[in-house]
Amino acid sequence: MTDSGPDSGAMRAEIIAALPRLRRFCRGLTGHGEDGDDLMQSTVERALARAYQFETGSRVDAWMFRIARNLHIDAIRSARRRGPQIDIEEIAETSGEDGRDTVENRSDLAAAQRALQSVPEDQRSTFLLVVVEGLSYREAAEVLEVPLGTIMSRLARARARIDAVVGRSQGGLQ
């Protein structure tokens, strides 16, 4: 924290308090432990550098979720510009299956990550915010800067997709 927050000491404490959930959100977004931790670090750096943009009275954790999600989108777009043009959904489906040994290997977590990575990024971030992080529809809409109706449709699509993926795999998620 440098010069800028309305109350930099208090904000720093709130950022630290939000780190466990931010780490979970980042790992869920990326589908990968190390990538998720890198995203968390970038998010904290951005938050510290732009503390002056934080609106006093709003939630620090929701603000950091928004930063993390935007950074993740930027990374996906950058990857698309650098490499062959592939669909974001395909990136989501292949991430975690790229041969790296560091993919979350605990069985339940690996199964959950596979299910999450089966849905497009916009649906995944919405699902994570509401179902995993417990944000209300309105809070999720503010984080993702979309209308409430979009949150509802994304959640329904994510759940339908996850259910279909689970249904195709023997034994379901577990």
Partner: protein, 232 residues
């Protein structure tokens, strides 16, 4: 996406009004396929959130906080009883990047300004914890050194701005600079001290005049900042 699926999703999230939920639950009773889908979606939600739950329970260690730039700043120790007054020891080693290359050769003492309102100095003193950096309007960097209470009840802060050090105290009208020492030069080993005897005479004199108590620790100082210095 069908309306029924959006409604099912909203029902699972408790995002319906009581009337909407009651109507939907009546549909569930009439439609076994819908009820089965609801059970399946709920089970998927529960499994995924349960599988990810441990990720938010992993400890956040000091190493991680340091990597993230969130480590607690090193607090300056208080003076022991058999030591010289704390304000004669203020140029204690603080280590790290903060100390590296800091120029501290006392050449002259600047006449104190009437107030510290200019250039963001007041805001920086008001809101920046000790050993954190604050950028002033003219681009210079201010680093509060510590906070201590004067005998008259005012809170005072020693600070460093690029090439000079100062002490300012806060009353109901804001921050007032009590003394400044200018043109400070580097010292060896990364420690911070003043050349020519290791003390800044004007700031020592100000501390003596103000009868400042021992510095606050970092926790107390942050609490004071959070309270907007209201503990007077």
């Amino acid at each position: 996406m069908s309306d029924i699926e959006e409604r099912l999703s909203a029902w699972l999230d408790g995002a319906m009004t009581p009337q909407e939920a009651a109507a939907f639950e009546a549909e569930l009773e009439r439609d076994p396929a819908l009820a089965a889908r609801a059970a399946s979606w709920r089970a998927n939600d529960s499994f995924i959130s349960g599988a990810l739950a441990p990720l938010a329970q992993e400890p956040i260690g000091d190493d991680l906080l340091a990597r993230l730039g969130l480590a607690e700043p090193e607090a300056l120790p208080s003076a022991a009883n058999d030591n010289p007054p704390w304000w004669r020891q203020r140029w204690l080693p603080v280590g790290g990047a903060l100390a590296a290359g800091l120029a501290l050769v006392l050449v002259m003492v600047q006449r104190p300004a009437d107030t510290a309102q200019d250039g963001g100095l007041s805001f920086a003193l008001e809101s920046t914890p000790a050993l954190q950096q604050a950028r002033l309007a003219d681009g210079r960097t201010l680093v509060p050194q510590f906070t201590a209470r004067a005998a008259d009840g005012r809170w005072c802060r020693e600070y460093r701005v690029d090439d000079h050090a100062g002490i300012a105290c806060r009353d109901a009208k804001g921050w007032k600079v009590e003394a400044e020492a200018k043109d400070l030069g580097p010292v060896a080993d990364g420690d911070i001290q003043l050349a020519g005897g290791g003390t800044a005479a004007e700031i020592d004199a100000a501390n003596a005049r103000l009868k400042t108590a021992d510095p606050l620790d970092s926790v107390a100082e942050r609490a004071l900042i959070a309270q907007q210095w209201g503990d007077r």
